[in-house]
Each structure stands twice: as structure tokens, then as C-alpha cells.
């Protein structure tokens, strides 16, 4: 039975952070109104951007596919309300660089008329797993924990490779409470989604992991599991340590196994999905509803009324801030995601997309604004808190020296960029920034090496081709000369004769 309390292990390192989730969970999830215009980026997920299926002027319905997955790793995009496509163009999106990206812009007709092509699947347990899997893909579901990796791709695991499906309800970053709110209010849907995914990957064991600072969510899920008589799913309370919500860390905590460095969780029999993703899977299968909205936490000292909102994709951040009473005077920074791994935005005129779990309007008092970097004193606190057991102080050293060989020897590429090291650094060194930079340099060097290898290969192929041609030509000439000789004619004389012959005819030809 779902007893719930299984002793979980630990992962090395990590930090205890103040949760700051009470502010946004005072009220239940509120529905944000459908805006007059929605802006839907084509690239809301990890992988290739989707390809538009609609043109300006076309009428679309709520939930209608408007852009299709364009590669193996890609995801469909659906209209988040009914109306007219008014533009397919570049618009500002939520990205650290403040860049613009291709978006489909829909002007709402106010009807919110649904698209009815996806039939509800009444009894999922009798459906073929592949049918459910296709539904997950067609409904554009991606991981809603923030990474937005296409769920159908993640569910695409070798037969019988998954022993345990793990639902991640850890939600360890401070301020973010959208999963907490969802678990409290839609526990049934989450458990059903878990069962469906267990059916898809044909496993008989599920775990839902919840941090011990979310007792209401824990109770709600336990009640839901009991009500469904679901004996295959354990609900596990895990201690609140950041970055426990990290896939690798949570797996280590629950199973005491590590995902191999170049492998996937399936290699050790695990598959992890976020709780909100499970609820989206349930909606897609039971209701035939594509992924067009999500719960977003709008919080921080910089916004008047922190809350959790169910938001249609394409709603602008600025609209949500208005719904939450606007900015306070203390607003200092706008962050998409949490304060540890989220990125700061230059503008609030960007749309909510599938990866938008939290909009943190941070007041100056809540965040670091001084940035007085001192030299590293090698105190080693960073190594103590690193969940990947790296030596951040050494990585910092080699990152500054741009010593790529040492960086790789010290496993820079295994850094998950959780930010624990920078948080505990007494010298206030922006360590994660150094690592990101070094990683991209290594990536670029790798690309250059690949390009150099390719051109070298091309060059060698060309050289060989020329050699072959040269050799062939020499062969042919020799062959010809021999043949002529065999016929008893001298090739030189032959040519001389021909030239002479042509000179004789020249009068006619000119």
C-alpha cells in the first residue's frame, strides 16, 4: 500500500534555503482571464523549433495544432484560445539575451471555442500504450518542471527498461509553488497521469516524491492514491534540501543509484516526470485537451499580491503582474524561474510559455545586487555543497586559466549549474557564470574540431580523387599509345598527319 513514509537516502552536498512559498499559496489557484492577444513562440521546448501550420488570417480553435514537431526531439504547439492568426513573426520572448524569436500571434475572438479532434480516451488501461504515447505527443506535452523536454521523447524508452516511474514533486527552488498548489488541488489528476505513464512504459512501480515542507500536498496525494486503490504507487516524503528537484539528485536520494555520466535514467531503470506533466498527460488522455495552459507562480517582494495562476500560454508577463496587483516600489529584478537557476529578464513584455513555472518579481532586499567579487580563498565550501561532488574551486581556477583539458579532467561537463557553490562562496564569485562560459568555450572548441576534422577529411578525399583521376588518365593514355603501336602506327606521326589533314581542309571550314 501507499504507506508514504519510506526512508529516503541523501545526495552529497546541497544547501538549505528559505522556502518563501507561503506568500503565493495563501489562496487557491486562480484562473487568469484569456487575453485579447496571445503570442505563442514556436520554440518553447528543448529540441528543434516547431514548424508553423497556419498562416496570417486563418481562423483557429482553442487546442488546435498550429505548429508541428519538426524533428525527433521537438514538440507541437497549439492555439491557446480561438481567434484569428494575425501574425507569424519575430516577437520578444523570455530568454536571458532578450532576443526575439518566431511566434504565432492570435487575436482572440472572445468565444474560446474548443477544437474537438482529440477524442477523450475513456479507459486508458484498455488502450494500447502506443495510442496513449501518440496522444501525449500530439497534445504537445513537455516537461513542466522548467526544462520543457518533450515528454513523448522521454517516454520513448526501450521495452521493459523502466522499473520505476518517479514523479518529481520536490519543487526545491525557493519561491516556486506551482507544483505544490497543483498537488494540493489536483492530486487525482496527477495520480491518474502517473498511472497512464506507467501504462505507456509498462512498469508496475511508481513513486511520487514530495519535500517534507509540503504537508498539504503530501496528504492530498495520499488521499488520492488511497481513493483510487492504487497499490503500485508509493508516496515518499523527502527532506527539503536544494537542489533535490534535480533529476539526478532525486534519483540518487530515492534509489541510492547514480545515473551514469554519459547515460540516461533508463540505464538504471528509472524514468522521471514532473507532477504537473502527469496532470497534463491526464488532461490529454481523459479530456482530449492539448497543452495550452499551465500553473504559474507569480511571487516575490516586488509584486503586490503573490499568487498561483492558471495561465493560457501566450499571456504576457506584464498582464499577470497586473492581475497580481502590479509591482511594488521595491521591485528590482524580474526573474523567470527561481532565484537559484532562473534567469533575469530585461522586459516583462514577453509571453508565458510551457517552461514558465515562476515569475519572480524580486525586491532589492531579496537578491544580491552588490557583486563585490574577491579572490577565491579556497575555503572549500563550494565543494562541500556541490551535489555532483565536483571541486568548484579547482574548476574556477582552470576556467580562469582557460585550461580546457583540466576542466574536462575535473568533470566540468557534469556541473548541473544549480548555483549552490556561488550561494555559499564568501568571496562572492559568480562561479556558475564562469562554468557556463567555460562549457560553451569547450563546446565551441569541440564544434571547431569537428569542422576541422570534416574539412581535413574532405581535403583527403579530394586528394585521393585527384590521384585516382590522374592515375586513370595516365593509364588511358598509355593504353591508347600501346594500342596504336600494336596496330603498327606511330602515335606522333598519326597526330602530325591529322594536323596536316586539317590544314588542308581549312579553306572549306572557314
Amino acid at each position: 500500500m501507499a504507506e508514504g513514509i519510506i526512508e529516503s537516502g541523501r545526495f552529497p552536498g546541497g544547501v538549505s534555503l528559505p522556502a518563501h512559498t507561503e506568500e503565493s499559496t495563501k489562496e487557491p489557484i486562480a484562473k487568469a482571464p484569456v487575453p485579447d492577444t496571445v503570442v505563442l513562440p514556436l520554440h518553447q521546448h528543448i529540441g528543434a523549433p516547431a514548424t508553423p501550420l497556419v498562416a496570417t488570417g486563418e481562423q483557429v480553435l482553442r487546442g488546435q495544432p498550429i505548429a508541428q514537431a519538426s524533428a525527433f526531439i521537438s514538440a507541437w504547439v497549439h492555439a491557446s484560445t480561438s481567434g484569428t492568426v494575425v501574425a507569424v513573426e519575430n516577437r520578444p520572448v523570455a530568454h536571458p539575451s532578450g532576443m526575439t524569436a518566431p511566434c504565432i500571434v492570435i487575436e482572440s475572438d472572445g468565444e474560446d471555442e474548443p477544437y474537438r479532434e482529440f477524442e477523450p480516451i475513456e479507459n486508458y488501461a484498455e488502450a494500447e500504450p502506443v495510442v496513449l504515447h501518440e496522444r501525449v505527443r500530439d497534445c504537445g506535452i513537455v516537461g513542466l518542471g522548467g526544462a520543457a523536454f518533450p515528454t513523448s521523447v522521454k517516454l520513448n524508452v526501450p521495452q521493459q527498461s523502466v522499473e520505476t516511474l518517479i514523479l518529481n514533486g520536490a519543487e526545491c527552488e525557493p519561491y516556486i509553488s506551482c507544483d505544490d498548489a497543483l498537488m494540493r488541488e489536483r492530486a487525482d489528476s496527477i495520480v491518474r497521469g502517473a498511472e497512464m505513464m506507467m501504462h505507456i512504459v509498462q512498469t508496475l512501480h511508481g513513486i511520487i516524491a514530495i519535500e517534507d515542507n509540503k504537508p498539504e500536498a503530501f496528504e492530498a496525494l495520499r488521499t488520492a492514491v488511497d481513493a483510487l486503490g492504487e497499490a503500485r504507487i508509493d508516496i515518499v516524503r523527502v527532506p527539503s534540501v536544494y537542489p533535490e528537484g534535480g533529476e539526478k539528485q532525486l534519483i540518487q536520494m530515492l534509489t541510492d543509484k547514480e545515473v551514469p555520466a554519459d547515460g540516461l535514467p533508463a540505464d538504471i531503470g528509472c524514468l522521471m516526470q514532473n507532477v504537473a506533466t502527469a496532470s497534463a498527460v491526464d488532461d490529454a488522455i481523459t479530456l482530449g485537451q492539448a497543452l495550452i495552459s499551465r500553473v504559474v507562480t507569480v511571487t516575490g517582494g516586488g509584486v503586490a499580491r503573490p499568487s498561483n495562476l492558471e495561465v493560457r500560454f501566450g499571456t504576457l508577463f506584464s498582464d499577470l503582474i497586473e492581475l497580481c496587483g502590479g509591482y511594488t516600489e521595491d521591485i528590482s529584478r524580474l526573474i523567470m524561474g527561481g532565484p537559484m537557476m532562473g534567469f533575469a529578464l530585461a522586459s516583462d513584455e514577453v509571453p508565458v510559455e510551457k517552461a514558465t513555472d515562476c515569475i519572480l518579481a524580486a525586491a532589492a532586499a531579496e537578491i544580491e545586487t552588490r557583486y563585490d567579487e574577491m579572490p577565491c580563498i579556497r575555503c572549500g565550501e563550494c565543494a562541500r555543497v556541490c551535489p555532483a561532488s565536483l571541486l568548484p574551486q579547482q574548476l574556477y581556477w582552470y576556467a580562469r586559466a582557460e585550461d580546457q583539458e583540466r576542466l574536462q579532467h575535473y568533470d566540468l561537463m557534469d556541473c548541473i549549474e544549480c548555483g549552490c557553490c556561488a550561494y555559499v562562496c564568501p568571496s562572492h564569485i559568480p562561479l556558475v557564470q564562469y562554468y557556463r562560459h567555460a562549457k560553451s568555450e569547450i563546446w565551441i572548441a569541440g564544434q571547431e574540431r569537428i569542422r576541422a576534422d570534416q574539412s581535413r577529411e574532405r581535403y583527403q578525399l579530394r586528394e585521393r580523387r585527384l590521384e585516382r583521376q590522374e592515375a586513370g588518365r595516365a593509364d588511358r593514355l598509355e593504353h591508347k599509345a600501346r594500342r596504336l603501336k600494336e596496330k603498327g602506327r606511330d602515335p606522333i606521326q598519326e597526330i602530325m598527319d591529322r594536323v596536316e589533314h586539317r590544314n588542308d581542309d581549312s579553306g572549306d571550314s572557314s
Binding site: P12, P96, G98, P174, K248, Q252, E258, V259, P260, A261, G263, S318, Y327, S332, R333, L334, I335, P339, M340, M341, G342, F343, A344, L345, A346, S347, L360, E366, I367, E368, Y371, M374, P375, C376, I377, R378, C379, G380, E381, A383, R384, P387, A388, S389, L390, L391, Q393, Q394, D411, D414, E417, G419, A422, Y423, V424, P426, S427, H428, P430, V432
Partner: protein
Amino acid sequence: MRFETAPAPHLKPIDSVAGVMRDVLLALVPAAFASVYFFGWGLLINVVIASAVAFGCEAAILSLRGKPLRPFLNDYSAIVTAVLLVFALPPVTPWWITATGSFFAIVFAKHLYGGLGYNTFNPAMAGYAVLLIAWPAELSQWLPPRGLGLDLAELNIPQTLTVVFTGQLPQELSWDFVSAATPLDTVKTGLAEMKMMSEIESDPVFGRLGGVGWGWVNAGFLAGGIYLLARGVIRWHIPVAMLTALFAIASVFYMADSSSHATPTLHLFGGATLIGAFFIATDPVSAATSVKGRLVYAAGIGLLVYAIRSWSSYPDGVAFAVLLMNMAVPLIDHFTKPRTYGHAQP
């Protein structure tokens, strides 16, 4: 609305270099009280001299190197170096020796290696080693603790200042009369004279733990060390490994022949063991960097302390042990890289 952007993580960091150094200074207060009580005002006078020189040298070198003064002068690291150096010196050390040590620590051991965070050697110990080699006689002029014979601790502040700055003792005293051997000195000379440990330990300088007065100063270091552990400024690995190694090797020799070896407790509570374990070996800049590396590094210090105390001509060995292990740090770091998540054992 437009906003300023900044890289993640956005939360305020929980500590600062200045905060760490301030905690170290605070942790030295109990030992300072004990030292002043048992050995007079000399320690405080030396602290003022050494700190002033350290601060001046720090400022001068920083401006020579074109570095910003404010963040580095406000980080207390130069003061920590000065204070740790002073704890290694006798209370009435001539001012120019204290000043030279402080100068060498900051200019040579710290800044010529690149300043804060870059020094290979512990600056305070490097400064002390220079003084010990250059002026061995002055550095062995320790005073008897309060309660044992003649009390220099009774010297008032002006008298102490006179001794430190002019070398002139009050008229009724002479150096032969006031200077006293430390407990470890007593052991060293006693054993050299082929005395039994039991005879040596009958000397009134030995109290219950590590010697009269000395025991209290060391208790102060222990209290300060526990404070640093509680505050998370230092972690347990270095002190525990160093003390365990020292205790273990001292026990082995003591059990083999108790008549010619000092007790393990004297090794722990005598000399500079406790300041070494909690304040010197734990200097992060010059210590090894991984958990495993720090255990090896500190155990090495413990063993070397015992070796130097037992088989060299120096009565104590913390400074040299730390400096020797500082040299071994790059090697230790190379061989103690922890296993990364998801990787096989290296």
C-alpha cells in the same frame, strides 16, 4: 517595464571573506584573555605592533600592485595573519622582531605569491619561521606564568612597553631571572640530560594539562575552535585528522617507552598544537582542497609535529610541519580528486 539583468543565482550569498576573518578574530579572544592573565600585557602590545605593520604593508603593496585598497583592507585578512603570528611569539619579544615577522608575512609570504587567496604558504607561519631561524635566542625568552615564581604578569603596561621597545627590564629584574622555559622546552632539555619523564614532569611548570597557564591558553584555542566549527567557518576534517594523528603516534611511542616520551596529552595540550589544529592548519588558502585531501594534509601535519618535537633540535614543530605540508598540497590535491556523480572511481 524594463529591468536590469544579472546572472543566476540571484539569492544573496550567505557569507563574506570579511565575515569569515572577523569570526576567526573573535574566536581568538578567549585565548587572548588567558594569555594576558597568565603572561601579562605583552600579547596585546604585540598585536598592536604586528597589526599596524601588517595593515601598512598591505596598503603599500596593494597600491604598488595597483589593486583596489578598500575591499582588501576591509577583509581583516592581514590582521588575522598578524594576530596569529603574535600568538606564536613570546609576550616580551622586542618590537622590531615582531614588526619584521609581520612585514615578512605580508610582503613576502602573502603578496609576492599573489596576495589573498594565492599564497602557497601560511603567511603567519612563514613569518614565524623566519624569526625563529634569525633570532632563536629572542624567540625562546618566554615568561613564567602567573603563579609560578616571579611574575612578569605583574608588570604593568608602561613597564611592559619599556621591555618591548627598549629591552630594558625594571631595575630589580634580569633576563636570566625572568625568562622561563615552556613545558615543551623543559621536556626537550630534560630528555637531552637523560632524565626520566617522571623527573621532568615534576617540574612545577607542568600543570594538569599542558602546563600551568599554557593549559588555559590552549583551552582558549579549543573554545575558539569549537566556535569556528559551530559557525561553519572551519570544518572538522583538519583539526580532527591532525589531532588524531598526533595523538596516535604519541601514544605508540609513549606505550613503547613511557620513561623517555612525553605523554600524548602533553602533545595535544602543550605547545602550539591546538592553535595549529584550529587556526593555522585550517587556513583554507594554503591547505589541501578536497575532504580526502584535507584529511591527508592534516594527518601529515600531526605526524610531522611529533617528529619535529621528538627528533629535531626544536622543542615545537607546528610551524615547520604546516609549512612542509603546504608544499605537499599540490601533490595531495592531484591524488585526492573526489569521484564525480555518475562516474566510476578515478
